[in-house]
Subunit: 127 residues, 2 copies
């Protein structure tokens, strides 16, 4: 397997341009929710603002409407997972924990299927 | 060690009443941030609304001001951890993943120190 290419901003460069096709879950004027292209959990959905915003800590007063829209999309996606699976976790990373420098929220359910390096865990490789 | 007592709402019953003393990080009119009494990570802060709200999915339009305040406190706590440690994760659980039925957000940095059952991991027990 080739080494995984790293983007500074995979969402602006690949997802929002359409260069990398994603399976959309929900789309609004300001936000996009889609299945993670390399999921870390059995069900793993990413929610991003279409505008480039570095992180949750970087959102400005002028971007409040965008943030509200992102949060509403997160709620809808989380409600979908709760309805289908009974549970989910919502999370976002800050600073050195944030690999991709475009604010993104994870909404996920089920067991972890990749390690920190992005390798599929053993029981998944065997499937 | 005695079995850990479980509360339906530890925050209303114990923390907000003051029955269980917590180390506060930040307090506003609507929100409280404090160090987790049984941390799952090396640095583990909890942010809650003072009003009883079941979960992030249960927030009503009338509770928008409270939610905005909670999110601002989360941002301040996350900025503090980024400043001190360079990173953090912000998360909340929904449905069966949410053990305590009062909305709470985790802001944490560092290695995991407890398992899912709340037991300290081996290298921590040895310390």
């Amino acid at each position: 397997m080739m080494a995984e290419q790293k983007w500074e901003d995979f969402y602006c460069d690949e997802v929002l341009t359409g260069k990398t096709q994603v399976e959309k879950v929900l789309e609004t004027e300001h936000s996009l929710a889609f299945y993670h292209t390399r999921p870390y959990y059995e069900v793993h959905i990413i929610v991003i603002p279409k505008k480039h915003i570095l992180s949750f800590l970087a959102v400005t007063i002028e971007e409040t409407d965008i943030m509200v829209d992102v949060l509403q999309v997160i709620r809808q996606v989380a409600a979908k997972l709760e309805n289908e699976h009974g549970a989910c976790t919502i999370s976002t990373n800050i600073g050195s924990y944030q690999s991709n420098k475009h604010m993104h929220w994870h909404v996920h359910y089920g067991a972890r299927i990749r390690d920190e390096q992005g390798r599929l865990l053993n029981d998944q490789q065997a499937k």
